[in-house]
């Protein structure tokens, strides 16, 4: 972060750029705590700078009420900067939460799978991890209303399933797994013809690979 700068709101531009980069490269970047903190500090500084101007304007308005003066231009600039910073902060966080939700749905709602990945975990701020947990709880609550058997809301909607059974190849060893139709021992490299509903989540989490 360069210190030699700059005008109001440069920092928030950096923040928004980061969101852009995240979208462009399709990765979740590390939560930029220090930048967010400095923007919040800038907000406070801006507000401190605006406070005397506000008082001045109020005093001027009181002095002669007949021909009301417009607020001083400096105040307008400060306010614009404040609002813009706020918008950028909101945009950054909205973008991140949206990304987190996307990640959540791509792994089929398997939150432990997502959080146990050290690489992903290190990029989350603690608050984001809490957010994911609460989101997961809400989804689970909603899902409980639908009952156990009727509908799997976690299933993908992009590729509708046209077959009950599926041919899979084991990519990551996951040992003996009990399914409704019996026990299967998944060993790396083996192929199985199994009922889709039983192992859907294993495909999503990358243990199995769908063939053909």
């Amino acid at each position: 972060m360069s210190v030699e700068t700059r005008q109001y709101g440069d920092l928030s531009t950096q923040l928004v750029l980061e969101s852009r980069r995240s979208t462009a490269t399709d990765t979740l970047l590390k939560y930029n705590d220090s930048l967010v903190r400095s923007i919040i500090r800038e907000q406070r500084d801006l507000e401190r700078a605006a406070a005397p101007l506000l008082l001045q304007a109020a005093a001027a308005a009181e002095d002669d009420e007949d021909n009301a003066q417009p607020p001083p231009p400096a105040l307008m600039i400060l306010q614009t900067a404040i609002l813009r910073n706020k918008r950028c902060l909101l945009a950054y966080h909205h973008h991140r939460t949206a990304r987190l939700r996307d990640m959540y749905w791509t792994v089929g709602g398997a939150l432990p799978h997502l959080l146990s990945d050290a690489d992903t975990r290190s990029r989350l701020s603690p608050h984001e991890a809490d957010y994911l947990r609460q989101y997961h709880d809400s989804v689970m609550e909603y899902r409980a209303d639908l009952g156990t058997s009727e509908l799997d809301i976690m299933a993908g909607i992009e590729k509708p399933v046209n077959d009950l059974n599926v041919l899979v190849k084991v990519k990551k060893e996951c040992g003996v797994i009990e399914t409704e139709l019996g026990t299967i021992d998944f060993r790396k490299g083996q192929r199985f013809m199994v009922r889709r509903a039983d192992i859907e989540h294993l495909i999503v989490q990358g243990y199995l690979e769908e063939l053909g």
């Binding site: 210190v3 700068t5 700059r6 005008q7 109001y8 920092l11 590390k30 705590d33 220090s34 903190r37 400095s38 923007i39 500090r41 800038e42 500084d45 801006l46 700078a49 792994v107 089929g108 709602g109 398997a110 939150l111 432990p112 799978h113 959080l115 146990s116 975990r121 290190s122 989350l124 701020s125 603690p126 608050h127 991890a129 809490d130 947990r133 609460q134 997961h136 689970m140 899902r143 409980a144 156990t148 058997s149 799997d152 976690m154 996951c174 040992g175 003996v176 797994i177 009990e178 399914t179 409704e180 019996g182 026990t183 509903a197 039983d198 989540h201 294993l202 999503v204 989490q205 243990y207």
Partner: protein, 542 residues
Amino acid sequence: MDSRDRLIIKVFLKFSNSLGPEALSKVNEILGEIEASDDDVESIVERLATEYNKQDDAQMKVSVDVLERVYESLQEQGDTSDPDEKEVIDPSSHLYVIDAFEMPCWHWSIERGTFEKVSTPLTVSGSAESRVSAVRDRLDIIRQCVLRNEHFAPSTLPSRDRQRLVTLKSTKQLLGRAGERFLLLGMLTHSKEGKLCLEDGDGSVELDFSKLDEPGEGLFTEGCFALVEGEYTEEGTLEIIAIGQPPCETRQTARSIYGHIDFLGQGSTSILEDSKLAVRVQEDLADLHLFFLSDVWLDQASTFVGLRKMFDHCIENDFFPTMIVMCGNFTSRSISHGSSLDIQRYQDNFDSLADLISEYPRFSRYVHFVFVPGPLDITVNSILPRRSLLSSFTARLKSKLTHAHFPSNPCRIKFFHQEIVIFREDLMSRMLRNIVGVKPEVKSDDLKKYLVQTILDQAHLNPLTANIYPTLSDFDHALRLYPLPTALILADKYDRYKVTYTGCHVFNPGSFLGNSYTFSAFKPAEVNSEECFLDLDAQEDT
């Protein structure tokens, strides 16, 4: 496969979990244990699966260990399903004594700007890299705190007084800029010529104290990190205008950034859980106490009288602590070079302590006892962190007490969301012996305050260079105080004190034997300690 198995699988499938045969039989076992009827099975399994997925180490494939843990915690909660009865929490299940040698090592990574776990096995001898990185970590952790601090962060507003505001620089930037003012953060050391230098990650600069009126608050020792402001001169020295301790950060701030990092190796808790636990501790465990005793000299007969008195007193008033921490030295004089007779006597003293405590079944069965070795006690190593007491001395204590812990020095206690660090060392005298600067005319009260402030600001229990007081470099992180603990016990032979600084409660229980029997009682609900005295003159009664 019967319908019940099928249902279990189905419910777990809903949570994207798969069961192995062991896990399936475990769930069946649990269902059998609580004699669930077929109608209830679904809701019970669902509850189980929900709780399972809340665990941090929950795998896709349900692990039996985690499942067992979940079931146990559910049982605890289940006992209090009666709405009239207030939820009872067993403090013991949230009480962990953590040995310094079991803590994971987190190393600060400048590139990634966060902590990274060191995966190589930690050894007592340490490696060349770990010796360097141990000291660098101390500096980097303080630096990242300083950079976040509002007083030192570069101004965010472009304005005229930006020139006046001095930002943190490195010694690398000094070269060829004589006559300019700089703010540096570095370690105070002596150079080869014996002059005082400031050393940071890039280099070092000689300090010139001639213009300085008086240093900032705190004890400046050789090896501590200080913020120094001064003018760089043609001679290559820095003429100091001001010197101060780095600012420190509250536990909440540090947790809000590094909350997901498991510094203690006991599973990380989220901030949300922490705040829930904090409320519970305050409401339900308001009268819970931990006792801290220091310098329990077992070779003095009066110590046993005092302990007996303390136990009697507790029973009389029907007031029992959850934990009693006894810090060394467990002998009033050094026996490290003593004869075999001395060592035999040392062991006998521990045995008689065990006998004494076992006379009070209420204590020996339910109260947790923690024995922290002091500088004079016999342990495997004498460098910090010190290993626990030798097991041959403590065999009888172990057999007589239900909950006896023998951790290292320093050790940590994790109690719900709180972290309590216990350190037995004659820290005040050691710091004063190696001091290079302090405000003139300090009084004893100031010294105590300065000591606490220095230790917390340095975020380290041993802010001295390796040649004065070395540490095991691979375990240097165990002495680190970042994030700040909730409470820090600096057991010292020096006078007793208690100070709260940036939200961290620091106290010294003082020697147990003195004009009266003294110890401290720590109240987690209020994060405060009380000094307790038992009169000596009542000896005749007992």
